[in-house]
């Protein structure tokens, strides 16, 4: 079974530039999550999708961050414009839709390490 794919793995940009990250979840996983993990901290949920609908984006800084999952499969997360404090690893995770899973085991991709200079 293929895992969660993310690209790029690394990205370095100047502040005020834009950047986009891509995620392809495990086939059949309806739920997709984007997390931000700052160095030395645990992952913080940014947004949760169920199929192509947003379940929770309460922690997403909507003035600069946006995310979409148009066809209920792949997802992109965009930052525009980036700030220094956005330097972090951005993790994508997926899980089975709730009725099909009696737990919320999440499967994570390798992450994209973003450095904002």
């Amino acid at each position: 079974e293929a895992g969660v794919a993310q690209s790029p793995r690394y990205k370095i940009i100047e502040k005020r530039q834009s950047v986009a990250f891509w995620c392809n979840p495990i086939s059949g996983h309806a739920t997709l999550y984007w997390y931000q993990q700052i160095l030395g901290q645990g992952p913080k949920l940014l947004i949760q999708f169920q199929n192509n609908g947003v379940v929770d984006d309460s922690q997403l800084p909507k003035d600069r961050f946006s995310a979409e999952r148009l066809k209920g499969v792949d997802s992109t997360l965009k930052i525009q414009p980036a700030k220094l404090e956005d330097s972090a690893v951005y993790l994508c995770a997926s899980s089975l839709e709730a009725p099909l899973s009696n737990s919320n085991e999440q499967f994570f991709g390798p992450g994209t390490r973003l450095t904002v200079l």
Binding site: Q41, G42, K44, L45, S103, N104, E105, F108
Partner: protein
Amino acid sequence: SQQGEEDPQALSIQEGENATMNCSYKTSINNLQWYRQNSGRGLVHLILIRSNEREKHSGRLRVTLDTSKKSSSLLITASRAADTASYFCATDLDDYKLSFGAGTTVTVRA
């Protein structure tokens, strides 16, 4: 805000020794999960314990849950160099979202 807090922040042990780390949380949970993260990688699910369970085993891992104290512990027995990683507890608040702690960094010395 993060629901769980791991303790200690860092742990260094000799190969073959046991490693124990603790997690405390604030509100009632549906289940609690432990994940491992190797340097530069994504998180890997280790074990899940439900709120009505008190102890669970998986290979060299033993997890306990005390809902009255709102705490959990992860024990890794007979540690190996490959166990060097960060370990995170994550609480599931019954809404299919996980809240992660800041993690415990474990270093296993050969």
